[in-house]
Symmetry: C2
Subunit: 335 residues, 2 copies
């Protein structure tokens, strides 16, 4: 077969795109968490002078993207596609950011899986020679997500112990060509799994099977084991989903251990009272653009598998009694 | 430059994917319009036994996709990616359709531009050798869109004369390899233009500049003129947007004439009282999968430019005083 594929679900790049730059912007709460020193910019409040949380969210994505562009050294004229998406209805945060930049724009919807989805599709567009450089980014905002998906934010609704806290944050990368720097060497686009979970306060549990499926397929397709990676990190399974996912992998005969972690577990500490951890498109975006990219550049990580996870329901589908379809998309990055 | 690009914004395929099959499903009103005979299936009511309009919309997309798969003769195992999106919040129609199929799934959001966006991205994944076959589809439903974007559907709100009627319809194509059949030879991913239009009852007016921009860039990139196409057809500008777009093109020195039309103008007739025409992701999807594919197969059209158009606002952004960002994505198809 002539296609650049391995196994059933993984694509392998013949000219792996280099991550020329990354940039992360987070809100005040994320800026007090354990990863604070890894973020490029920390906002002192959740609106940063904007009239609404939604406008602030779009501005945050613009800042992250502008930061990635500036630190890449690439001219804006040399960026051929912008790929972005977010949690807002009709992905308005991304659309209004795309309006400001004016790049040819591919809008994505993968909920919290958007960062890895964008990097995967962007890598195919790069390696396929359709672009010189590609801008990828995503964002989420606690307050805009809260009122869209759950309750009026000011209501301060009591949260279940399995619930996760939507990250206020935006992360962006520039994919390009270069001799040095971390490269995206393969990608596994996930398929939707839905084991019937209907509890929107347990999205980690809903997403765990889909993330496990993508990790299993990735490893099988490339005939690798977890120990071939310094880090396998899911997007936002949180504590509940991470332990479920680990259990599924172990029962499937995958010897996964300390190298497996979750961005949603890392971004806040226990004192921040977020229950099962973090979620949101911004979660894996800022952990990847921050800590993971730092450690790849420093040579601490040589090979990482980022598996951003998405819960693909809506409030309407939940009200209509539907369960939560979930997905995980994976990209392998090598220093 | 090594990339498969022409000019600033257009990608040209070295091994143009063949459209192996297409399938369209529409609602009863579309089934009474002038294109009725070109659709593969016409539903007799808007719910078709489902509990809600949203569930019916997802079912309609599944039917269109299943129809495209069946008539392509391709085995499901040979489909490497499904690309889909729709107007529903969090693109639930596509997500629940993707759940039923289980293909590796790339969710898109381009509002009514989704059909051309999916075909453009799908073509890059095909021509770049990342897939053997790609399934592309999109849908919209009048009643689910009405209550999400405007008023309770049963309210029967009076509509402005510039307003358009969301199509109840789903269209799908399979991209693959083959010796015969219509091929996607190039694609132009649009950029967002926003001239400040805030009237959500005039989306054709809001989208006209972006569609004109994409047509201009496509023609300039490939050094072509409108007469090189048998048909240049926008997605859902409607009567107001189409005449505005024509005016912009003529003032820009593009001699566009009878070859320029709009799916949103063609799908209903005057007696159906839809005011400025049709809109919705399903609009350009069913006109393309129906009439245009028929005429490409029959050799009546040799080269067509489909420019699906999208208005990328949300009710929230409109309530917050934002104007409507718009985009047009183009794919050139040759018999």
């Amino acid at each position: 077969m002539n296609v650049k594929r391995a196994g059933n679900q993984t694509v392998v790049f013949s000219d792996p795109p280099v991550i020329l730059s990354s940039y992360s912007v987070v809100g005040p709460m994320e800026g007090k968490g354990p990863l604070a020193s890894t973020f490029d910019r920390i906002w002192q409040d959740n609106k940063q002078g904007e009239e609404s949380w939604e406008k602030a969210e779009s501005k945050m994505l613009q800042e992250a993207m502008q930061g990635a562009i500036t630190s890449s050294g690439i001219l804006e004229d040399e960026i051929d596609f912008m790929l972005a998406g977010d949690l807002m209805n009709q992905i308005i945060s991304s659309n209004y950011a795309a309006r400001q930049f004016g790049f040819p724009f591919i809008g994505l919807y993968g909920a919290c899986s958007t960062m890895a989805l964008g990097m995967a599709v962007g890598s195919m567009l790069m390696d396929g020679q359709y672009a010189r450089n590609v801008l990828v980014g995503t964002c989420s905002h606690h307050d805009s997500a809260e009122r869209q998906f759950r309750m009026p934010t000011e209501h301060g609704n009591q949260r279940a112990m399995s619930a996760q806290w939507t990250v206020t944050g935006a992360g962006s990368v520039i994919l390009g060509k270069g001799k040095t720097g971390p490269r995206i060497t393969s990608a596994t686009i996930g398929r939707i799994l839905d084991y019937g979970e209907k509890d929107i306060s347990n999205m980690g549990g809903a997403m765990a099977p889909a993330v496990a499926d993508t990790i299993l397929n990735h490893l099988r397709d490339l005939q690798r084991s977890p120990s071939d990676y310094d880090l396998i990190i899911s997007g936002d399974l949180g504590a509940v989903g991470l332990s479920l996912c680990k259990e599924i992998l172990l029962k499937s005969g995958i010897p996964i251990g300390q190298e497996f972690s979750d961005c949603g577990v890392k971004i806040y500490d226990q004192s921040q009272d977020v229950h099962a951890g973090a979620s949101g498109c911004g979660c894996s975006a800022v952990v990847f653009a921050g800590e993971i990219m730092q450690k790849l550049r420093q040579g601490i990580f040589r090979r990482v598998l980022l598996v951003s996870s998405g819960a693909l329901h809506s409030p309407t589908s939940a009200f209509q009694g539907e369960s939560i379809p979930a997905i995980g998309h994976a990209v392998a990055i090598e220093a």
